[in-house]
């Protein structure tokens, strides 16, 4: 039985530990602090898979030369509100924050902007950039490609990426942030379910005989996780990859899949400046009215609140800021010796 005990780490302690490790790995002080802040914030928000749990692998990719700590993105092409950038294989989260800052400026100038980023690396939690733009008052649409993790619809061999799609907008003092990958369950979620000896709550893929199943071990073996909405999510995954590749001039899923590890990704960042689309308080009221109607939903289970995408994060964030971030002891032990 693996050690599944947790310890509580304060956000400040985590941030300092991460920054110190990244400084040693060749980051500048500013880069190290910014990158450490992103990994810490993702952990504070409860997205441990793309926060603290992923940090050791991120450091390993730097050591192995897949992620280049000194690299910064460079502009390769500009056409009004549309810009192409080369990520130069720099740290994914730093490249993505830079792309988001850039696309926000484009949106402020042109109403709508698009930054397509080639040769970048895993951005960790896509929602990070949705929160970034939405907290600054903008609408955000973004997506990334990944290595192949699931088959095309009707097929059995993995050719499609998980290609998360992020849509975000400001809401009151916070944001509404949708961050959805194209598989119904991530490999991480299925591995965790196996560890906990749990079934998936809905079908998550096919077994080797082509039958739908909610047994995570079976799906990990068949490598046939379900796309969201079956043929629909499979189609959406393909289109997001084609767009990311064509717009950035970077690599597509089938090219990334041939590499030793997942790196050299293509990403798209779109922002729209809603501050000039009308009276600010009117726009706020419009969204409040939609959410008010949504919250009037009659729950199938009266004890469960109906929440909008990003709403659940607020409580987790509050808890983790107050009490510390729950971290698997074996993960933190690993980080302490990095």
């Amino acid at each position: 039985m693996p050690d599944t005990s947790f310890i509580l780490i304060s956000p400040q302690q985590m941030q300092e530990r991460f920054a110190s490790i990244l400084l040693n790995a060749g980051f500048t002080k500013e880069q190290a602090n910014q990158c450490a802040s992103i990994f810490t914030a993702n952990s504070v928000d409860g997205i441990y898979t793309h926060g603290v749990n992923r940090f050791p692998r991120f450091v390993q990719y730097i050591k192995d030369g897949y992620v280049l700590p000194g690299a910064v993105p460079t502009l390769t092409n500009k056409l009004g509100g549309m810009e192409q950038w080369d990520g130069n294989l720099g740290p994914g989260p730093l490249n993505a924050v830079h792309a988001t800052e850039t696309v926000m400026r484009l949106a402020q100038q042109y109403g709508i902007g698009c930054v397509a980023l080639a040769n970048t690396n895993h951005w960790m939690r896509g929602g990070t950039y949705g929160w970034q733009a939405a907290k600054a008052g903008l609408v955000f649409i973004g997506f990334t490609n990944t290595t192949a993790i699931m088959p095309a619809w009707g097929a059995i061999d993995p050719r499609l990426g998980n290609n998360p799609l992020v849509i975000a907008l400001p809401y009151q003092d916070e944001a509404i942030v949708l961050d959805m990958a194209m598989s119904q369950f991530s490999y991480g979620a299925m591995e965790l379910a196996v560890l906990k000896n749990e079934s998936l709550r809905v079908y998550g893929g096919y077994n080797k005989s082509g039958e739908l199943t909610n047994d995570p071990a079976t799906i990990l073996e068949s490598k046939r996780p379900l796309p969201v909405g079956y043929w629909k999510g499979a189609g959406l995954s393909l289109l997001l990859d084609i767009l990311a590749t064509v717009l950035s001039g970077g690599l597509s899923v089938h090219q990334i899949t041939k590499k030793d590890v997942e790196h050299g990704l293509s990403q798209v960042f779109i922002a729209i400046d809603i501050s000039k689309l009308g009276n600010h308080s009117l726009i706020t009221k419009t969204v409040e009215n939609i959410i008010a109607d949504y919250h009037q939903s009659v729950g199938a289970d009266a004890s469960k609140k109906i929440v909008y995408p990003g709403e659940g994060v607020l409580q987790t964030r509050k808890n983790n800021l107050a009490n510390g971030i729950p971290v698997l002891k074996k993960v933190w032990d690993e980080i302490l010796v990095l």
Copy 2:
């Protein structure tokens, strides 16, 4: 048993019949021809639900005053590549073609453009506008809101729209066009399955006891169709409605749902001019390489070809252009007396 016999109608015959009816209903000759062409093309492509089968209801909405035949969209706000238009409750397909033409011009000028359209009507087949932009060489992302047809995730009362999302781009001489609604199966598809006494091929919703089912009659009764990818598609539906409403300044799903019939919709059209993003033949080759890899997929059923979104349409189009469009006799009889 309802009459389910078909007759074959030539595209020219259908187009002329539709145009003549629309002329009588108050359309100008140009409007009538354009609108008739869209309904005919949707039928040629096999999207009968948003072509010939829907035409009688479209005419009824004109007669009832929900769709105003003389109305054309007017510009209400312009910020560089971002424009807001009022559809003035004109015919949805004509407003959407106009918005697509407008956003293509914006993209050609600014690299990326966005048109948000308030107070419009059902655009019929969203793919129409994806094909329009993609055949002209542009990338297209568009979505519309609708009346509420499914519950929020965890709820039992309908609050979310079907809110189709369209993504398209040029491919060789044709296009790759994804046109996906947010429910796993449309009400139309479920009604057809009931008529044919067929089960849905995967779960399509919940029965009144909250159990997943693939019996379409049960879902029509419970009014709880499944969102694509369960909680994920429910979230995406909500976000698309909020974006359409905020960007256009128009009505949201909860406001549209209060009306007698579905009208006064909000829509978003985004286009990106890829012609200046690099060598045309290089971009074409990039997409061909992705599709070539996709087509190498190993099918679960070796007799079934793995197709990309929009690929199946090409064969249907060819067949219907050559042999005529198969139309339910009872539908054509209805059209003959309009």
